[in-house]
Subunit: 480 residues, 2 copies
């Protein structure tokens, strides 16, 4: 491939340090993950982007089922009166609801919300479905899209419609619901770290930042390469906040009628944004093998030469049989160099080149997307080598991201340090717990509280903002 | 279990021959597949019903991917102006559209339809995505729910919201699109017959019955136990009906700008209705093993006796390991007889009872849901025996349904015969092809044309209605 051709391909992507935001948009569109649509704020997920979502779904769905959850489907439209039953909830969501007012030619008697989230419809049905303690717990999940009428949107990070899962569970005791909320937070943490190679901060949200209607909200927070936070998943303990207005009651063993305790928890297509901004580089996407649509791509070199295509096909078949998601790029109208660039842009973890000389030597040339390292592997035993490389890449992407996260997280002890630190990453600080300090910090630094880590050792005893007594460790960061 | 208890359980279900429609509703609700919601015409799919849908999805999705299709996700809202671009299409769907008119507190400049189907949004995006013949074909599919504001609804058969898949493809040539439409019809036929054990009539719809905007619509039609037809899946050849108004053009090899040829095809949660009405009996559901949430249920007998629960657990583990979807019913507050009735109602293909005497004899007692046959199997080799039984049940349900279908399909040669036959099943007849005869038959018999079979041999040469020359064989039936 000519040097200038290569340049032309890569210059589609704005350098990260020049304009991170533009770099993100370039990668999203050039890697063919999604496209804008004529519907304001709504995106179309193209096959490559949707396939990542499918792989996320498969992995998470397995984890949900292993922890005893079942999938259901609820209506996408919700009567306005239901939304109004829980005061905080309606206040939080009403401003961003898309309203259905007409069915065919007839005006509806009551407006219907396109679901922004489904607590109230789950509650309505739970109230029908639960009578006795024997019916509990109900641990349900739904995969769907939801709609929140956003003023300004960015692909995957904030769109009016997005795809997600929402778990909704009800329990006989406060303790059990509390454990459920924490268990699902832990499922999210493990998923982010093991499957997406994204290290996270796991903890409790402040009163200000909790979900509209929740008693306690927990979150996993990731750090993007510009040092900003991205809330990757949330898990809510509702107590009886919803079960009381919705009258979700059960007859307990002791013959008493009691309210159920409830949780909900969710992650969304936002995670695709997190993958891009955690792992991407100047050449484009870098995908963790576990969610890569293609884990390896085979590029035949001098494919017209005898035996090359056959050997590529042979490797393809053996990898596929071994469960590797592999693609052979047999296009004859673009050069190998063009293909290299394109698959790098699309983040394929491993490239395998096979040409006449390689075949003669019984090897293939490989290139790792995470390190750009090139190396040869023996055709004999290629399946095992490829699998090993993929495992290495999965681990190495995590290691890189974790080192970055650690290096960009600093303890701060006064407002000046805090302000400086949130320009580059996360600030860990002591906080007195007052809403005033939280608001003031946001006003002065535009950083928000991310979460309060579990069992964190105090790093001081005075609030970073007001200087009064403080016993709570908390993370601050600017956020997406 | 006491006789009266058994009676009480089963009398929830209205006998089929007394009132088929009520029998259906009883089975749907008693088997815990779905529930009604406060949203008019919209249902909630409960775990047991949704699991059937998941198994349908898994099987179909594999077939779609094997035939080269990729999944995508499109917006659920569609601007009114897009819907109006194809005249027949808007005329067909506008009366049943749910309209979003407000986002938050602001009135929208243009109304947005909650998608009743997604042709127009796929077309809009295809027009952006296709430039050259090299980009073709694009073979996409989407799993989602759609909304059609129905006046009267029935669970699974006709609901305002339903879950489905919609395939949308574009091709460079008319021939290729034609072949795609027929290929997907064949995928549906195979799926219905192999996976759902439902035999179908495969053929072409008349001009009157085709999809709004299609050039040709093909369908697979199933026969329910009341002799009525249920359209189980459709596949549409659009020609350039949509690509012209939406300007989906590509530069062909010959340097000419040409319109793409398009198809779409879909099946929905309606299939769950088809399963119920094809296989159900007086005791409730009978599920084909391939889509049964539980293929076998183990009921311990005298579970308090030493070794019983352990043996049940042992069988459970070995079946689960072998990939059988199995459940052990260890409830201690209902009798075995109660459990038998409940799992029969829920259509579990195979029941395995294990008690102290069975264990001593090295056997388990089995009951097949399809035949009610009871038999013992040796614990030694139980996994193979169970798998064999499940295969038998899958095949036998097909055989029963196919015999019924054959016995309820008759050739008719005049209007009186036709009218009689459509009261009990399908009528096969010669038809002159005129809309007048089609309308008249519907008016007189309330039967509609189902489809025109491929390569059918003529059974006469005169139209069953007008007596004029006819060379087309066609099926008539009353339909859901």
């Amino acid at each position: 491939m000519a040097k200038e051709e290569q340049k032309a391909f890569v210059e589609h992507i704005t350098p990260r340090d020049e304009n991170f935001s533009q770099w993100y948009t370039d990668v999203v569109t050039q890697a063919d993950l999604m496209d804008y649509t004529p519907v304001r704020g709504c995106m179309a997920l193209k096959p490559y982007g949707y396939r990542i979502w499918e792989l996320i779904q498969e992995d998470l769905d397995r984890r949900f089922k292993e922890t005893g959850h079942e999938n259901v489907a609820m209506p996408m439209l919700i009567p306005e009166s239901l939304l109004q039953k829980e005061a905080d909830h309606v206040e939080g969501f009403a401003p961003e609801v898309a309203w259905v007012t007409h069915g065919g030619n007839e005006k509806l008697q009551e407006r219907l919300a396109v679901r922004p989230t489904s607590e109230v419809i789950f509650c309505t049905m739970f109230a029908k479905w639960v009578q006795s303690w024997r019916d509990l717990p109900l641990k349900y999940n739904q995969w769907c899209s939801v709609m929140r009428w956003e003023k300004s949107t960015r692909p995957f990070l904030r769109t009016s419609e997005f795809w997600w899962q929402e778990g909704h569970t009800i329990h006989a005791t406060e303790q059990e619901a509390h454990e459920e909320a924490l268990q699902m937070l832990e499922v999210y943490r493990e998923f982010c770290e093991e499957t997406l190679s994204i290290p996270v901060f796991s903890g409790r949200k402040t009163e200000k930042e909790k979900f509209a209607g929740a008693r306690t909200t927990y979150s996993v927070e990731a750090m993007m390469q510009d040092g900003k936070a991205l809330q990757a998943g949330t898990s809510h303990d509702f107590g009886t906040n919803f079960s009381e207005p919705f009258e979700i009651q059960f007859l307990d063993k002791d013959g008493q009628l009691k309210y159920c305790y409830e949780t909900s928890w969710g992650v969304s297509t936002r995670l695709i944004g997190a993958i891009i901004m955690t792992h991407g580089d100047e050449r484009g996407l870098r995908l963790p093998p576990k969610v890569a649509p293609y884990q390896a791509v085979i590029v035949p070199i001098a494919a017209h030469k005898e035996g090359v295509f056959e050997k590529a096909e042979e490797i393809y078949v053996s990898l596929k049989k071994a469960g590797v998601r592999v693609r052979i790029d047999d296009r004859d109208y673009v050069s190998p160099g063009w293909k290299f660039n394109e698959w790098e842009l699309k983040g394929v973890p491993l490239r395998i080149e096979i040409g006449p000389r390689d075949i003669k030597n019984g090897v293939a040339m490989c290139a790792r997307r995470d390190t750009n390292e090139k190396f040869t592997i023996k055709l004999d035993g290629i399946v095992e080598s490829v699998k090993e490389s993929l495992n290495d890449i999965q681990d190495n992407l995590y290691k890189i991201a974790d080192e970055f996260k650690v290096s960009k997280t600093k303890d701060v002890f006064n407002m000046q340090e805090l302000e400086e630190q949130v320009n580059v990453g996360y600030a860990r600080a002591m906080w007195c717990g007052s809403r005033e300090c939280e608001d003031l910090i946001k006003e002065k630094t535009s950083a928000t509280t991310r979460n309060i880590p579990f069992d964190a050792e105090a790093i001081g005893d005075k609030c970073v903002c007001c200087g009064k007594d403080a016993d709570m460790v908390i993370y601050f960061a600017k956020a997406y």
